[in-house]
Amino acid sequence: MSGIINRISGPVAYVVNLENARMYDVVRVGTEQLVGEIIKLDHGKAIVQVYEDTTGVRPGEPVVNTDTQLSVLLGPGLLTSIYDGIQRPLDKIKEKSGDFIARGVNVEPLDTKKKWEFEPIMKKGADVHEGDILGTVDETSIIKHKVLVPIGIHGTIESISSGKFTVEETVAVVKTKEGKKEIQLSQRWPVRIPRPVKNKLPPNVPLITGQRVLDTLFPVAKGGTAAIPGPFGSGKTVAQQQLAKWSDAEIVVYVGCGERGNEMTEVLKEFPKLKDPKTGKPLMERTVLIANTSNMPVAAREASIYTGITIAEYYRDMGYNVALMADSTSRWAEALREISGRLEEMPGEEGYPAYLGRKVAEFYERAGRVNVMNGAIGSITAIGAVSPPGGDTSEPVSQNTLRVTRVFWALDASLANKRHFPSINWLTSYSLYTDDLKQWYQQNVNKEWIELYATSMELLQKEAEINEIVQLVGYDALPEKEKMVLDIAKVIREDYLQQSAYDDVDTYSSMNKQYLMLKSIMRLYEEERSAVDRGVPVERFQGIDAKVKIAKMKYTPEQNIEKYYEDLGRAIEEISGMTAEAK
């Protein structure tokens, strides 16, 4: 028995006579069978948010309850895919409806015809629990897809087969108390429910991004949460894409939430061409893309974030380190606001619903470094871009995000205008993981790393203070020592923090290269400091060989970096020969 539309207004439909209507059930709306979800029940009316354009839908049209919740299909084939907000593959939509997205298109999230080679690990008769690995499938040339016992299943393997299977075919049968359960390569999971884990672990391993300002000054831990707020044009999207390209996560889920169509196309075109610095394989082979551009239906934009994080959780459960980029969570919050407005809910700040803070917190809580159900360690690092109106982070979405995220990468329009990229402001940004990660850096990069980091941070702070004085008294009146601080801070800013995403070499810096670069700058600092003590005026350091070399260090390929570092070291030492008297 189907329900009947009683009222339609934009993406919200009011439905009467819908049997078995439960919160968050997925329904099919109207004669075109548009996908919708029940978001409110009110005196016998079910209120549905529709994930597709509702133009032409009329009162009186039928609504069918599918009796399932909004869920994603998890299985091999997710990687390299590009989905819309409710996990419909965009290339399949294209095959069905052409270059423009039509409505009511019904396509399977995973290719149901493709056969995958399944290699069992478990044997017949073995006891298995939820989350255990039954076997593996080579999903791409770099990622082994682990086929997990679905959540809620405990029992004994009655049969398990090897060979080629589609995602729908049964590969194992488990005998449980409730009866026999057939297990396929794919399983469903409702997107709004976090997948369970055993316990959370402290975040003490950094996510290496190859971006100097991030790895050195404001690192994020694997399993951590980070926010990138910034006005338009400050380089948010480029920063997110750089993270998606170069971070050392094994799996990357990139959610383009309400963003530009051409940008998603750029990602689509570029990722298959880019090589992973570790494996040399195309980056696309570890990536899942979710693209709900700004002009695609707003309700599906709300869902896209959940679709993304659920897929991320699934790979985490296999024991992988997953990085999730959401660009931009503001668009998601705006979708919440739009739906809330249509429901005539009492608004909170700036028209956003009162539950915005809770929703944001719930989302970031799904990140973390954990023991998954089978005991292995996996992580989700969640990095959300925020697009505050006018760049003013006092607005609700930024504030609610900053309350729950532990890293804040503040993008700065004035830096962007000076073409200082990545335009991350070193004075206002912070990372609360610095202490957690100390040990890792000392053991894996260098003992003196923390010292180098602290000194460079200090110099940058000092520079800001001195600059305030300069505003009052002019540069001239500064003591030579302070001039020297400005000199070194400039080197840190221009030759270290600035990093070009478009330069083939500079786009990625290994930790070793970062260490050698920073070390060189600190050596320069030491030498200049003692030279100033000897009475050498700061202006004599202009254009010296050591500085020219430091400026070019970032463009030096990784394989030559050690040698370059040594040459540079000699140039720096020349400073020790400088005396108060000019030659």
Partner: protein
Amino acid sequence: MSDVYYKTVKQVTSVLLFVEGVKDAGYNELVEVQLPDGRRVTGQVLDSRDGLAIVQSFGETRGVDIENTKVRFLGETMKLPVSEEMLGRVFDGVGRPRDGGQPVYSDTKLDITGSAINPASREEPSEFIQTGISTIDVMNTLVRGQKLPIFSGSGLPHNKLAAQIARQAKLRNSKEGFAVVFGGIGINSEEVNFFKKEFEESGALDNSVLFLNLSSEPSMERVILPRLALTTAEYLAYEKNMHVLVILTDMTNYCEALREISAAREEVPGRRGYPGYMYTDLSTIYERAGKIHGRQGSITQIPILTMPGDDITHPIPDLTGYITEGQVVLGRDLQRRGVYPNIDVLVCLSRLMNNGIGKGKTREDNRGVADQLFAAYARGKEVRSLIEIVGEEALSANDRKYLHFADMFESKYVNQDYYEDRNVDKSLDLGWELFSMLDKNDMKRLKDEFIQKYGQWDHKREQHSEEIAEMVAKAKPEEELENAKKPPAASAPAGKGKDKGKKDGARKH
């Protein structure tokens, strides 16, 4: 249902009609309202319930009454008949001819809301469009399929700039121009006359379609107009293989109309009273730019908006900037200095620039020249603001060079004639010429090989344009003077150092 007239209008506001007894009006369905005096206006269903339809009228609701007004639901959404014969024609905000000609008859009728282009079908825009304007071509490159708005302020020459772009825009080394679809949203008759005259003079009118809604005409039409313009553009681009340039001016009026409807519906307002869905709504306009795999044509959009109070953080420019692929910003300060086009390059951006420049497209040195121009001009402007604190005498020789660079950049590079069509090579060379005012060693963004190839530091005086030659000449002796002074200055400890410090002044780090 099209023959049923409802005479059950129960409530009327300036833009909305509440019609009772309607069972099944479709969302966004088109409505015809017949006024007692026989006038007809069209409208659209905004909210449909069993027994009530809320209709947004595109025309004035003046004269609507409760007793005699009749409403007919047309059973379809708003469609626009399109054909190639629209080229050279002028229409009003709902698609009626306003040039005295016949309405367009065509079997092809397109839904004006359009549908989203599947991101998987999009082709990355990468063909360089030469606008003949240096600051755009070299520093904020426009490519085919891009949406690049002009952020302006009241009284600034955005219309002139748009007209100049429309006149000059072409692919490099090609005469092939664009078909122009022009949407005038709530503009006044002088502006209309200006554009008409421009298009007539440049001969572009035959290749243009104009949709005009004057500021005196119903504001509700402004919500429809850009969609008509873009539907026409899509037809010409994707069915008729044309390259279409869409100019929409002024988007601020569009947003005002949107706010008016929202207020009439008593919706929960977002920032500054604009509806919370304005971002989504604007995206359904701006995202209709692009290129599609396997289709010949393209749609490039140049929306123009005036920033209320020159405030770039106002919701209209703010939301626009988050959707469009960059922005060209006009500055009042430059306007006062008499610079045309008064493009304030430091806050401008073209996100698709990198796809459209470089070898084979513009020139190999483009990226570096652009970055260096940005960096040097930024520094020059910093120095300019520094003078206010420390005075010009306290500047170092090097800082003074940057100061002069900023001046020359504005008057030689940004500034150009309304009819001056600079090709990109010339624009790039002009950049190199300006660089020769500065120290070669300071040019960190330029690759050595390009400095060798294009650098003009060694040029003789007569090879430079007059003013720059003068600048270069001025800068040099001073530098030499300083070098000459250096040894004694450095060898003498404290006292002399101070003296020399004055020259080196507030060297900004």
